[in-house]
Amino acid sequence: MTAALTGHAGPATDATDEEPPRPRRWYTPYLLLLPGLAWLAVFFLVPMVALASMSLQTGSLGQGYRLTWEWANYSEALSTFGAQFGRSFLYAGAATLLCLLIGYPLAYAIAFKAGRWRNLLLILVIAPFFTSFLIRTLAWKIILSDDGWVVDTLRAVALLDDGGRLLATPAAVILGLTYNFLPFMVLPLYASLEKMDERLLEAAADLYANAFTAFRKVTWRLSLPGVVAGTLLTFIPAAGDYVNVQFLGTPNSAMVGTVIQSRFLTVLDYPTAAALSFALMVSVLVIVLVYVRRVGARDLL
């Protein structure tokens, strides 16, 4: 590319003197970017400012809202819905961890053990997600229902009391979140593992590393960018989700998304909902930044 700019690509044979290589027009990139950036500015940045502003307003839908820098919206929202807020991060964190625990071996197997079945296995990982998100979650509702075979089996082996349930428990919500966001973990993990040169493992073995040490010091380290990307892609949507908790949990285990949704769409208490949304956004961003720095994969962004 740069060679084309610096003259290497210029018409060297005939028109040497008269026609210097045309420099690329400086505004070409801006023309390419303008429509997309304008769209993101109008429908992402401006709404975020509107949200931030709404979170500091007082009033009601009938009488209109006024910006009064009402910081109390935040303290009120967070003290009223602190439990839901904390629960979101707890459930999302647990689901992310579970996704990593079951997603890593899967990605590892596809990258290193699958041989010619690799593409097929990748398709199998993605395929379930072509069925609608809501329908999949409803299917879990059937599977975990009180008279379903899972509960029957667990009761039979006494892992669950006779009256014990799976549906409408935190476990069901976490399981649903884990299920729904698993491919977001597996695909980045696979992408980073697949790039790894397997001879590094041989080298590690030659240097008397046992399999565990080799995994810890070579494979795991090299897959860290995938781990970071995967955990973020799982954690962020899981923290804001309210579908799983609606279908698989109870109103008592509502997450922050549930509150935001009902405050915005049913209660029509916009300032509180906006304060909660903005607080969620900021906490997620802070977690992302701290996490990415700690793991040291900054070039990921």
């Binding site: 590319m1 070409t28 990139p29 390419l32 970017l33 429509p35 997309g36 950036l37 769209w39 993101l40 500015a41 429908f43 992402f44 709404p47 509107a50 949200l51 709404m54 997603g103 071996p105 899967l106 197997a109 290193f112 053990k113 699958a114 010619r116 690799r118 593409n119 398709i123 395929a127 379930p128 072509f130 069925t131 609608s132 999949r136 299917a139 059937i142 599977i143 299920y179 698993l182 493992l201 073995a205 046992n210 399999a211 565990f212 973020l232 962020i236 949507p237 804001g240 989700d241 579908v243 922050v256 935001i260 949704q261 916009y270 906006a274 949304s277 903005f278 969620l280 997620v284 962004l301």
Partner: protein
């Protein structure tokens, strides 16, 4: 792909005959575990992934007694024969297809232009641009939905079909950029230099060299955008007004009673996607062969 198979690795089948390497019992054991246990575990995870799909398929053949399709009552092909029987469901599917098509078209164009700008050019504000593209992906959907609704409320714009499309384009752009960028970054830029050397101007180079090479990435991005739009619930829920997309229909039905036809649509979506993947593979093979 073949490297995994034909390169004799240390964890390969037999310990190197008479090889100088010392393998401790522990290493051999963990080698065996890694060879078989990982794959066995992977298969279990795949089963876990498909259990709900099997349930969706099975319950599309259910003959539910009441409004709720949650317990197995008996075999019936009723839902497959009359997929549009539940009032408003097929309208919702068509609406989702329309929204998906519109959102895909616009977001693919915008995102592809952005990706070209980011990969092929160096300019002031490049980092800021990347950040703006990244941010929507790092934002929980519920926040994006809420912020858009706030904007529309502030402007006094009623929510409905148009606002859904606007919202879908917004969150799709970033995914298109990422997908197309990945394809462009893997391309050999010397091909474009060669075209320029052969007196192709910038536009000709783009149309004859860059665009055809980038096409698979753009197609993949468009398919991804369509899938995301068709399946989106959270952002749509905030900005739909009275417009009912298919996910909105399912959400409502989950409270009122889910007809088995919903499962028919879910299964059909899966089959359509697998068909698309299959055709893609065949095309790839035909080209290679």
């Amino acid at each position: 792909m073949t490297t995994t198979l034909d390169r004799p690795t240390r964890s390969g089948a037999a310990p190197a005959p008479g090889g100088p390497r010392r393998t401790s019992a522990l290493a051999r054991l963990s080698g065996w575990v890694r060879r078989h246990l990982v794959m066995a575990f992977a298969v279990l995870v795949l089963v876990y992934l498909f259990v709900p799909i099997a349930v969706v398929l099975l319950f599309s053949f259910n003959d539910p007694a009441g409004r709720f399709n949650f317990t197995w009552q008996g075999f019936s092909t009723e839902a497959w024969l009359n997929p549009c029987a539940p009032a408003g469901m097929c309208d919702a599917v068509v609406r989702s297809l329309e929204i998906g098509a519109l959102a895909t078209l616009v977001s693919t164009v915008l995102g592809t232009l952005l990706a070209f700008g980011l990969v092929r050019h160096r300019f002031r504000g490049r980092t800021g641009t990347s950040l703006l593209v990244f941010l929507p992906m790092a934002t929980p959907e519920v926040v994006m939905g809420a912020s858009l609704l706030t904007l529309f409320v502030n402007l006094g714009v009623g929510t409905g079909f148009t606002t859904i499309v606007l919202a879908h384009i917004m969150f799709n752009v970033s995914f298109v950029v990422v997908t197309v960028k990945a394809r462009l970054a893997g391309l050999d830029s010397r091909l474009e230099e060669a075209a320029m050397d052969l007196y192709a101007n910038e536009w000709q180079t783009f149309r004859r060299i860059t665009l055809p090479l980038a096409a698979p990435g753009i197609l993949a991005a468009a398919l991804l955008a369509f899938a995301l739009s068709f399946d989106d619930f959270i952002i749509t829920n905030f900005n739909s007004g009275n417009t009912i997309t298919f996910p909105m229909y399912v959400w409502g039905a989950a409270q009122r009673g889910v007809p088995p036809q919903v499962n028919v649509i879910g299964t059909a979506m899966l089959l359509a996607a697998l068909l698309a993947v299959g055709i893609g593979e065949l095309v790839k093979r035909a080209r290679r062969g």
